[in-house]
Symmetry: C2
Subunit: 276 residues, 2 copies
């Protein structure tokens, strides 16, 4: 069994990004948009800003109160769309319930859509034309590639069917010719699927959902869950027990989490290059 | 066992479309674009034109020789995009190899994209905002709904991972909370998946690929395959043997085929309504 060190892989990618930014005439610029005062969202935006700074990417933070109107947010996005010093726009999700996320995501110019949630970029991903790929699924694939895990023909099981993680991840795996099963809360017998997985990716938000008797020996496990419990932050996988059967496994924290921010930096560079 | 009569369901939908068109002040208009002289494509375009005519939809046929330049096709699409008497634009696939299908599909105005292949509409489908859904996957779902097959929580297996059938179908089924496995030519043990399916949808283009020992009793089978053999047109399923185990099954011909054209007519009406 080997543990995949997300922090180390992410640090390598960030260093590569930093070197690349150093060589760029115009520094890439990322605008982050935060609506409301959700502490987790505030933390994520802060971490993203810090990572940008370390990489030499200019980041601008825009904040709205929780009762901001849709029109105000859209007005800002349109201004950022036509601001040539801003190459990437990230609207931190989830947005307050009174705002229509889909409508707001669709306003971000596709070439500045570093989170990949604009339908044009989602559709391109489905078609196999991967441009801006959402950061978490992209980070998962990057980890697997880094560990030289063959994807073609592999039996992959994803536990999550959201447009943010499960569906784009399914598209990424299908684009690489894996066989893909997508499970979720309505799946009748989750274990039946997970036990057959050669690669298992879990993002259910349920601490300890995946137990040792639900996986087969040699499985590669990527745990996307981030759950705050009284024992600290844990994933969706019973790590201590499952790691005895897995050939490769990500820890939580220190697994997929750091990769997500590294992918955001990469997407911001891609955006800056495409807009040159 | 019951056979799903695609012709009958399609005829009902077409009749409903016809009645609706009758009540519309401006008749919907569909432009079909055919490049090259592939006999199958010519036949499909002809059948689509005929179906439009029967439904009272005005159809205009545009043809290019097989060596047409991309710019010429794109020029026509742009003209059709701004032609207010044309509500839907269909470019018959496959296009000759010298043309970039993705680029051409992306040129069709999303609100006229009755085939649903523009990335914006693909992305909306992934996000769960179903607007123009590709006709074949939409026809499959419509048949299942017509037969009152519950999808939520059902174990569904799709044999196809193309952007035209398998991937959009996976999104449609996930949007309805089915558990979805997507198999294809690189899948190591197809039977392992198909034997677990409660709903099996096959679009492999391999006559007789699915045999009786590859399905479980009570399965619902949708056969999207259309294969010309010396014994006539057959699907991907060994129909005579599999129908003994299936609770519901589509024949070929007379199954999904007719549904595809009915869905095109429906999408054309949707387009006309949205552009009012």
């Amino acid at each position: 069994m080997a543990i995949i060190d997300g922090r180390k892989i992410a640090a390598e990618i960030k260093e590569k990004v930093r070197e690349e930014v150093e060589g760029m005439e115009t520094k890439p610029g990322l605008a982050t948009v935060l609506v409301g005062d959700d502490p987790a969202s505030q933390l994520y935006v802060k971490l993203k800003g810090k990572a940008c700074e370390e990489a030499g990417i200019k980041s601008e933070k825009y904040e709205f109160p929780g009762d901001a109107k849709e029109e105000e947010v859209i007005k800002l996005i349109r201004e950022l769309n036509s601001n040539s010093s801003i190459h990437g726009i990230l609207v931190q999700l989830p947005l307050p319930k009174n705002l229509n996320s889909q409508k707001i995501m669709a306003e971000i110019a596709p070439e500045k859509d570093v989170d990949g949630f604009n339908p044009v970029n989602m559709g391109r991903l489905l078609i196999g034309d991967e441009r801006f790929v959402p950061c978490t699924p992209k980070g998962v694939i990057r980890m697997l590639e880094h560990e030289k895990v063959e994807l073609k023909g592999k039996d992959c099981v994803i536990v999550n069917h959201s447009p943010v993680v499960g569906k784009p991840l399914a598209m990424l795996l299908l684009n690489r010719e894996a066989t893909v099963s997508v499970c979720h809360v309505k799946t009748k017998d989750l274990g039946k699927f997970t036990r057959e997985a050669e690669i298992l990716i879990v993002a259910a938000g349920v601490p300890g959902l995946i137990k040792a008797d639900m996986v087969k020996k040699g499985v590669v496990v990527i745990d996307v869950g981030i759950n705050k419990t009284k024992d600290g932050v844990v994933g969706d996988v019973d790590f201590e027990a499952v790691k005895e059967k897995a050939s490769l496994i990500t820890p939580v924290p220190g697994g997929v989490g750091p990769m997500t921010i590294a992918m955001l930096l990469e997407n911001t560079i891609l955006a800056a290059r495409w807009q040159k």
